[in-house]
Amino acid sequence: MLEGGLMLTLDRVTKTFRAGAFGGGSTTAVDRVSFSAAPGELVSLIGESGSGKSTIGRMVLGLTQVSSGSLTLDGEQVRPGKDFYRRVQGVFQDPFSCYNPVFKADRVFALVRRAYHPDVSDREWADRVEKAVRDVRLDPGQVLGRYPHQLSGGQLQRLLIARALLLDLRFLVADEITSMLDASTRIDVLNLLAGLKERGLGVLYITHDLSLGTYLAEKTVVLRSGRVVERGDTQKVFGNPLHPYTRTLLAAVPRLNQPWTTAEPVAACAYHEGGARDGDLYETEPDHFVACAGLPDCGRTPA
């Protein structure tokens, strides 16, 4: 089912929104962001509110248009439509608002059938639903035929992933999917994502929680005000953070039984160290890119 995942590539993607009265001004929500996610790879997009992480997710899903730059899945531009959504799906933060409270929760499956698989027999469809529900580690007898209010947030969230699995899913955008869940159910959803990833699905995991990002991701992209601050291999980015902003974020994570530490200031701008650079990011070691730290003497260091 998950063979042939899609390669997501963003190249200097920019999104500008018109803002202000009568659309006179403009706000750049995403500014020249480049990264890629290979099949079977989970990339976490980490940033605070307003960093543009959800806007990127919406652009990948074709819900928002790209202003400039290129965003491709296996070399093809995002072209929203039935064929596109068969392969690319999103799961969002609030599972409760994704369901119509007056219908049973498994109606989301019936809607998929009507739109995408109208010629499948009842019998076969029931088998497929059961398989998808088991794939997300739920007991079909416990969740099918229930109303949304009878299910927990974690169950609803996993049903939405099961719904995506009924399609020909190749790429999943997971936007803050665990932030409304309890600690005990959160891990189940994360482990499920890890399992799907191992079967070849590409996942863009959007979160503000660093510990969840590092738990799953091979690659991490740290965003601030729409720009990439640091990105690359998760171990390298968080094992050896070079940008002061990444350090601040790491220091602010509450850890059990460890007092908050203050972020260690960077000695020198990793981007400008060793001379002037072209481009927004500099590769300090293989698969570890960092932006200019914005220190007072940045750019003036003699080459």
């Binding site: 605070e48 600690a183 159910t185 482990n191 590092t214 738990y215 799953l216 974020l249 509450p254 059990l256």
Partner: protein, 314 residues
């Protein structure tokens, strides 16, 4: 002793019967203590916080007592509680965004609020308190929409504590915030306590990691009952109740990786509180449960200030 809660029971009325959201919880809160209240959704932690402030139309005080500074609180008498609200016991709600009146500037809202309690505004003192939580005095001239989520949350904290309450209930105040804002809000709450503007505090959250930074002791609840209560250090390093152990085990730490060591969640979900099962309520999900757990476990003090309700904890 600031606050003493004894065997408190609060039920919700529903069409299908009474939901026993809070079913016999007792604890003490000392002067200057910050108590962290943790547990899954539906364990009764918010109900406990709300019961101390105001029972809404569906809630019914079934039994137990709450004593604050020697006075027993008239929980079920909405009008009599008015004398305590805001003066003695105050609340910082979860969604500060919707707690502020969108059509009033913050300063005017504070003036009107204090006037309704017969108190006049001391501008100098107000500015000092805003500075304590890291806000500039000019927020008073702004509308709520002009503040960020973290600033609104801190503004509500100042408003809630204007009358120096004995107990402040902070209900999930950080769950909608980013890590750096969480740190600022938690710092501000501790500051209010250290400056004596609030005597004691109940910090309700589902985030055990964050609770361990602010709380002096932590109480873990499960399905309307107390599971374990202990000083923070003891609860996080030597938990006795299997539920506490599993809750701590499911916390991802920075640096933990799925490929190295997958964490495990807790199988199953809490029982319905409409007709809760007899005996230990965690036993359906508990790896240690046996036939003895069909009997209700008593709350036992296993060490000084460390109480557990579990047959297997001894």
């Amino acid at each position: 002793m600031t606050l003493t809660v004894k065997d408190l029971r609060v039920h919700y009325r529903t069409l299908r019967g009474e939901v026993r959201a809070l079913d016999g919880v007792g604890f003490d809160l000392a002067d200057g203590e910050i108590l962290g209240l943790a547990g899954e959704s539906g364990c009764g932690k918010t109900t406990l916080g709300k019961a101390l402030i105001r029972l809404d139309g569906r809630m019914r005080h079934v039994g137990g007592s709450v004593t604050l500074d020697g006075d027993e609180l008239p929980l079920s008498d909405d009008r009599a509680m008015n004398a305590y609200r805001f003066h003695k016991i105050s609340l910082v709600p979860q969604y500060s965004m919707s707690a502020l009146n969108p059509t009033r500037r913050i300063g005017r809202m504070i003036r009107e609020l204090l006037a309704s309690r017969g108190v006049t505004v001391d501008t100098g003192e107000l500015h000092r308190r805003l500075a304590l939580v890291g806000l500039e005095p000019d927020v008073l001239d702004r509308y709520p929409i002009e503040l960020s989520g973290g600033m609104k949350q801190r503004a509500v904290m100042v408003i809630s504590t204007l009358l120096d309450p004995s107990v402040l209930v902070a209900d999930e105040v950080t769950s909608a915030l980013d890590v750096s804002n969480q740190q600022a809000v938690v710092g501000a709450l501790t500051g209010l306590r250290d400056k004596g503007l609030v005597t004691s505090m109940i910090f309700v959250t589902h985030d055990l990691g964050l609770t361990s930074h602010i709380a002096d002791s932590i109480m873990v609840m499960y399905a309307g009952k107390l599971a374990e209560k202990a000083p923070t250090k003891v609860l996080t390093t030597e938990p006795r109740h299997p539920y506490t152990k599993m809750l701590i085990g499911s916390l991802p730490q920075v640096g933990a990786r799925f490929v190295d060591k997958p964490l495990s969640g807790i199988e199953g979900s809490p029982p319905s509180l409409l007709n809760p099962p007899a005996g230990c309520r965690f036993r359906a999900r508990c790896p240690l449960a046996d036939s003895g757990c069909a009997e209700e476990p008593p709350v036992v003090e296993v060490a000084p200030r460390h109480t557990v309700a579990c047959w297997k904890a001894a």
